[in-house]
């Protein structure tokens, strides 16, 4: 069972990502628990499968507008669909990888799988997920943590 206290690791990873990469803080809303197996998604989602001592998925999902501005804040001029997908996967990868600071080496993360323009395909392996709402500039996104 995923402990609520462990959500702190992912909140810190999320804020650290925006502070370092965009050099502009994001605010994180109150995390909430979803129990119906449908935590929801935006236009682009980067999914990391978790294996090892913990099992499940971590995904970062965001609209194109937010990802475009984030790329621009990173001085990236190419805001093509390919780079938008690359970015959403990199955010998911970075936040999940950073979680190993607390979870340890046996929190094994996959390379990202990207789902774009197809919200129905974004699923979780278990009915319970924690959702961390993320607000950055005028945009909203979320990090979903679904671990057994």
């Amino acid at each position: 069972m995923f402990k609520e206290a462990e959500i702190r690791t992912f909140i810190e990873g999320t804020t650290a990502y925006f502070e370092s990469s965009a050099q502009q803080s994001a605010t994180v809303g109150s995390p909430y628990l979803v129990t119906d197996g449908n935590p929801g998604a935006y236009e682009y989602t980067g999914v990391i499968s978790i294996t090892g001592t913990r099992k499940g998925v971590v995904y970062f999902t965001a609209p194109r507008g937010m990802l475009t501005v984030l790329l621009m804040r990173m001085q990236e001029t190419d805001t093509s669909d390919e780079n938008i997908k690359d970015l959403v996967g990199e955010v998911a990868n970075t936040i999940s990888g950073n979680a190993r600071r607390d979870f340890g080496k046996n929190f094994v993360i996959s390379v990202p799988t990207i789902i774009a323009h197809d919200l129905e395909k974004v699923t979780t392996p278990y009915s319970r997920s924690f959702v961390i709402p993320i607000n950055w500039r005028t945009h909203s996104a979320k990090l979903v943590v679904c671990l057994e």
Binding site: N93, G97, A99, R100, K105, V111
Partner: protein, 130 residues
């Protein structure tokens, strides 16, 4: 004993990361005058191939990549040239992973996400070994 020929004016840099935006960001953000980017690879297997062709002096290396991961790639590259300087640039933030990468032959570890300054400081520190 210097690991890299310090008489050379420029050192060749190869960037290895499965993310195109990270590869481009490292190339764009690195401000070390004597580093010249000679190639970028998106996985470990391609990196080993590129390493053979371009013979870089310095490598930035991601760890979580398809085909061949960064730790295995570090081992293969070190086998080809034990004098190469390798900076691991990874999101994997646990100490055990950093220690493993160093034990396999990497010279430094920079945790993602990073600022431009942190990247350049890490490269400067790496090159101070040269």
């Amino acid at each position: 004993m210097p690991r890299v020929n310090s008489v050379k004016n420029s050192l060749k840099l190869m960037i290895v990361d499965d993310s195109n935006i990270i590869r481009r960001r490292i190339e764009r953000s690195q401000q070390i005058d004597r580093l010249e980017v000679v190639g970028a690879a998106s996985n470990g297997r391609a990196a080993v191939e590129m390493f053979r062709r371009t013979q870089p002096d310095v490598v930035t290396m991601d760890l979580t990549m398809p085909e061949m991961d960064g730790v295995e790639c570090v081992e293969e590259i070190i086998a080809l040239n034990p004098d190469v300087l390798i900076l691991v640039v990874s999101a994997l933030a646990d100490k055990a992973t950093a220690v493993e990468a160093i034990e396999k032959g990497a010279n430094g570890f920079l945790c993602k996400p990073f600022t431009d300054r942190q990247l350049n400081d890490a490269l400067e520190e790496l090159l101070s070994e040269a």
